[in-house]
C-alpha cells in the first residue's frame, strides 16, 4: 500500500509509516553493508596493516619536554646543519622532536629498516608534522607527547613541513630528517650546495 503521491512540500495526511518499495529496501541494505565494510577496515588495519596513528599518548609539561629534547640532541649529536644539531640515535631509541615557532628541533638521522619511538610535541602553539615527500601527517599539540613507533622504509633526505598555522612565520618552518641506508648514504652532514645556500634550487 503506497502513500498518496505527494511532494516534500505537502503535509502528509494519515499514517506515513509504510513499508518501502523493494528498490529502496535493496539500496538501504547495500548502503548499510558498505558502511559495515568501511567500519571493519579500521580495526582490521590495526590488526594486519602497517600504518596506524595509535602510538602512546600522555600529557607532558612543554618546558620539560623541550629540556628532554635538548638533552636527547646533545647526547646523540653527530654534526650540525644551519646551526641545528643532527641527532643520530641508535635503533630502538626514543627520539625526541619538538616544534617551536618557527623551527623543528633537532635534525634527525635515522637508519632505514630500524624501528624508533618518535616523540612529537610542541613548546608553544599547535604545529603540524608533515613529512615530505611521503605525506605522513600528525597534529603536534603543546602539552601532549605523541609517541609513535616508526620504521623508515627508504633512504633519503626528507623534510618536515609545518602544516598547522602557528603564526605569521608559519611558512618558514621546515625541518629535516635524514634516512640513511646501511652504507650511511645519503651523507648526514649536508654538502648539497643548494641546501647550503639556504634556498630553493
Amino acid at each position: 500500500m503506497l502513500t498518496k503521491v505527494h511532494t516534500g512540500l505537502e503535509p502528509v495526511p494519515g499514517i506515513w509509516w509504510r513499508p518501502a518499495h523493494k528498490a529502496e529496501r535493496v539500496w538501504v541494505a547495500i548502503a548499510f553493508a558498505w558502511c559495515m565494510v568501511l567500519f571493519a577496515m579500521m580495526p582490521l588495519w590495526h590488526w594486519k596493516g602497517g600504518q596506524n596513528p595509535s602510538g602512546t599518548r600522555r600529557r607532558v609539561d612543554p618546558k620539560a619536554y623541550y629540556a628532554r629534547t635538548i638533552a636527547f640532541a646533545t647526547q646523540y649529536k653527530v654534526g650540525e646543519d644551519r646551526g641545528l644539531p643532527i641527532a643520530a640515535p641508535p635503533a630502538g631509541a626514543d627520539v625526541y622532536l619538538v616544534g617551536l615557532t618557527f623551527q623543528w628541533y633537532p635534525i634527525l638521522k635515522l637508519e632505514r629498516g630500524r624501528e624508533y619511538t618518535l616523540h612529537l610535541s610542541s613548546l608553544d602553539v599547535n604545529h603540524g608534522f608533515s613529512l615530505f615527500p611521503l605525506s605522513v601527517n600528525f597534529q603536534v599539540v603543546p602539552g601532549y607527547d605523541y609517541a609513535l613507533r616508526v620504521t623508515p622504509t627508504a633512504a633519503g633526505d626528507l623534510r618536515i613541513i609545518c602544516n598547522e598555522f602557528c603564526g605569521i612565520g608559519h611558512h618558514t618552518m621546515v625541518g629535516r630528517v635524514i634516512v640513511v641506508d646501511a652504507a650511511d648514504k645519503p651523507v648526514a652532514d649536508n654538502r648539497r650546495p643548494s641546501l647550503l645556500g639556504g634556498g630553493a634550487e
Binding site: G8, N52, V125, S130, P133
Partner: protein
C-alpha cells in the same frame, strides 16, 4: 502575544501559501545579510586563490593569513548561518501557512547576529585576530573577537528557538493537516543539530573569551580542539540537513519530485541527528589526545550511520525526481526523465549540480579521508579544503543559490534580474568550484599543506621541491577559483539587482513563460489526476527491483563503484609510507 487575526497575511499567487508579512521580512533581511557575507567571502576567496596559485602569489604573508580568517568566518559562519536563518523562517511560516513566533524577538536576534558579525569582522580586518577560523589556543585573539562569535551564536540559537515555537503554533492553530511536510522536517533536523552545535560553541568560546580577558589561566589546546570541532564540524552538518531539505524542495518545485517513502527519508534525517555530531572526531584522528578505540568508535560506528543517511538521501532525492517525471509522462528509456528535464531552470540545474558534486566528490572524499589510518596521509594537506569545498560550496552554497532563484519571485516578489546570466550561473559556479576542488585535492596528495602562504619555501632554512605537477594543479585551482568567484559575484549581482531594483512580480500565469521567473512557477509540474493509479502500476511486483526508478538505480550503482575504487586506492597508497604504529 498578539492574536493571530491581527497578523496580516498575503496569499502566494503561485503556490497558494499564506505568507505572513512579518515572517517574510525576516526571511528577506536574513537572506540579504547572507549575500553581503557572501560578497566579502567571495572577494577574500579571489585574493586567496591568487596567492596560493604560486605563479601569481598576490598577497603578502600577513594579509594572506588575515584574509584566510576572514574568508572562513564569512563563508562558513556568516553566509551559511544567515541563510539558514532565512530557511528556518521560511520553512516554519510559509511552508506551514503559519504566523511566526514573536517576530519582534526575531529582529532582536537578527541585530545580535549582525553586531556579533561586525565585531568579528572589525577584529579580523584590524589584525587583532590573526588566529584563522579555528583560533586554536594558545594562539590568542582580542577578547572582542570571541565575544563577537558568542553574540552571533546566541542570536542564532534564539532564532532556532523561535523556529521550534513556530512549529508549535502551527500545530496548535492547525494551519496544516496531518504531518508536517518533509522539507520542514528536514529544516527541523537542521535546527536540532544547530542546538547541539551552538551549545558546543558556548562550551568552547566562553572559556576562551574568559582566558583572553586573563580571567582564567589557560585553555587546554586539545580539549579546545575537541570542543571546537564539535562546533566547527557539526555546524557543517546543519548545512547538510538544510541542503537536503532544499534538495527535496527544489525537486518538488522544478520537476514535481515525489517523496517515495516518508519513513525512509525521515528515518535518514533522524540518523543525522543521532550520529552526525560524533563525526567531528575525524578532525582528531592523528591527534595525541585520543586513543584508537575512541577514534574508531566515533568515526566509524557513529559517523557511518550518518554516511548511511546521506547515501539514503542520495538515492531518494534523484529517485523522487525520476518518479515525479515519470508520473508526468516522461517515461522514455532509462534516462528520458533526465534528458527532458528543465536544464535551463537555474533552480533545477543548481539542484542537480549540488547533488552530483556533493555526492560524488564531497561525500566520497570525505568518508575516505575521515578514515583513521588514511587520515595520516591527508591531515592538514590541501586535500582537506579540496573535500570540504565540494560539500559546503558545491553542495550547500550551490543549493542555497538554486533556492534563491525561487525565493526571489516567491518571497521578495521580484523577477530574477539578469535572467540569461542566471541560467548559466549554476554551471559556471559549479564548474569553477569543481576545478578548485580537483586542483586542491591533487596538489594535496603530493603533500602540499593547507593554510600555507609559500610552498616555494623561499624563506625557509631547508629547500622543499614539490613535483612540477603541483604547479599544474595549483594553476587549475587558480583558474577554477577565478571562474567560481565570477559565478559567485554573478549570483550576488543578480540577487542585489533583483531585490533592490528588480521588477515586481505578483502574478504568474500558468503556461505563459516569463523572463526572470523560473519555469517551475510559470509551468508548475503538476501530477496527473490518476497519479496514484500510475504509481501503483509502476510499483507492481511484476516490474521487479528496478520498478519505478530504474535510471536512479543505475546512477547509484555508478556512485557505489566510484566510492569503492577511490576508497581502496587510498588504502593501497597508504602502504607506501613508513611503518607507523
Amino acid at each position: 502575544m498578539t492574536a493571530p487575526a491581527l497578523h496580516p497575511f498575503r496569499t502566494c499567487p503561485a503556490t497558494g501559501h499564506r505568507i505572513d508579512r512579518q515572517a517574510e521580512r525576516l526571511v528577506r533581511v536574513n537572506a540579504v545579510a547572507a549575500v553581503v557575507a557572501l560578497l566579502v567571502g567571495a572577494i577574500a576567496a579571489l585574493l586567496l586563490v591568487l596567492t596560493r596559485w604560486q605563479a601569481v602569489h598576490l598577497l603578502p604573508a600577513v594579509w594572506y593569513y588575515r584574509i584566510l580568517g576572514v574568508h572562513g568566518m564569512n563563508m562558513l559562519i556568516f553566509f551559511i548561518i544567515f541563510f539558514e536563518m532565512a530557511v528556518l523562517w521560511f520553512a516554519g511560516t510559509v511552508l506551514l501557512d503559519s504566523r511566526p513566533a514573536a517576530p519582534r524577538y526575531g529582529w532582536f536576534n537578527f541585530a545580535l547576529m549582525v553586531s556579533g558579525a561586525l565585531l568579528v569582522e572589525s577584529m579580523q580586518w584590524s589584525g587583532r585576530a590573526d588566529v584563522l577560523f579555528t583560533s586554536y589556543p594558545p594562539l590568542k585573539a582580542h577578547p572582542l573577537f570571541y565575544l563577537g562569535v558568542i553574540l552571533f551564536a546566541v542570536g542564532a540559537l534564539g532564532v532556532v528557538g523561535q523556529f521550534f515555537a513556530t512549529l508549535v503554533i502551527a500545530k496548535r492553530e492547525k494551519t496544516y493537516a496531518g504531518s508536517m511536510p518533509l522539507v520542514v522536517y528536514g529544516a527541523m533536523t537542521a535546527a536540532i543539530i544547530a542546538v547541539i552545535t551552538l551549545v558546543h560553541g558556548a562550551a568552547v568560546y566562553i572559556p576562551t573569551f574568559l582566558w583572553s580577558l586573563g580571567l582564567i589561566p589557560a585553555v587546554d589546546p586539545e580539549v579546545y580542539r575537541l570542543l571546537w570541532w564539535a562546533l566547527g564540524h557539526s555546524s557543517q552538518q546543519i548545512n547538510v540537513a538544510a541542503m537536503v531539505a532544499i534538495w527535496y524542495m527544489l525537486g518538488a518545485l522544478t520537476v514535481g519530485a515525489v517523496v517515495l517513502n516518508e519513513k525512509v527519508s525521515r528515518s535518514a534525517f533522524v540518523l543525522y541527528i543521532l550520529f552526525i555530531s560524533m563525526a567531528s572526531a575525524h578532525h582528531l584522528l592523528v591527534d595525541p589526545g585520543f586513543g584508537p578505540a575512541w577514534k574508531i568508535v566515533n568515526t566509524s560506528y557513529f559517523m557511518y550511520m550518518a554516511v548511511l543517511a546521506s547515501m539514503v538521501h542520495g538515492f531518494t532525492v534523484p529517485a523522487g525526481m525520476e518518479l515525479g517525471m515519470r508520473l508526468r509522462g516522461y517515461t522514455d528509456g532509462l534516462f528520458g526523465w533526465l534528458r527532458r528535464a528543465p536544464w535551463g531552470d537555474p533552480g533545477f540545474s543548481a539542484l542537480v549540480l549540488s547533488v552530483v558534486v556533493f555526492g560524488f566528490f564531497g561525500g566520497i572524499t570525505g568518508v575516505t579521508i575521515g578514515t583513521e589510518q588514511i587520515n595520516i596521509t591527508v591531515h592538514n594537506t590541501l586535500r582537506v579544503p579540496g573535500h570540504f569545498h565540494a560539500t559546503v560550496v558545491s553542495g550547500t552554497a550551490m543549493s542555497f543559490m538554486g533556492a534563491t532563484y525561487y525565493l526571489l519571485p516567491l518571497v521578495f516578489q521580484r523577477k530574477v534580474a539578469f535572467w540569461k546570466l542566471a541560467k548559466v550561473q549554476p554551471y559556471l559556479f559549479s564548474l569553477g568550484m569543481l576545478m578548485v576542488e580537483m586542483g586542491m585535492t591533487f596538489a594535496g596528495s603530493f603533500g602540499v599543506p593547507r593554510r600555507h602562504w609559500d610552498i616555494s619555501f623561499s624563506q625557509a632554512p631547508f629547500d622543499v621541491a614539490f613535483s612540477p605537477a603541483v604547479d599544474l594543479f595549483l594553476a587549475v585551482m587558480g583558474i577554477g577559483g577565478i571562474l567560481a568567484v565570477t559565478g559567485a559575484l554573478s549570483f550576488i549581482a543578480i540577487a542585489v539587482k533583483s531585490v533592490f531594483f528588480g521588477e515586481t512580480v505578483t502574478e504568474f500565469t500558468r503556461g505563459v513563460a516569463m523572463e526572470g521567473v523560473p519555469q517551475g512557477l510559470t509551468h508548475p509540474p503538476v501530477h496527473p489526476k490518476n497519479a496514484d493509479e500510475l504509481n501503483e502500476a509502476m510499483h507492481a511486483p511484476a516490474r521487479g527491483i528496478a520498478g519505478a526508478t530504474p535510471g536512479t538505480l543505475v546512477l547509484v550503482a555508478v556512485f557505489l563503484v566510484a566510492f569503492m575504487l577511490y576508497y581502496f586506492t587510498n588504502w593501497k597508497l597508504l602502504t607506501f609510507l613508513w611503518k607507523i604504529g
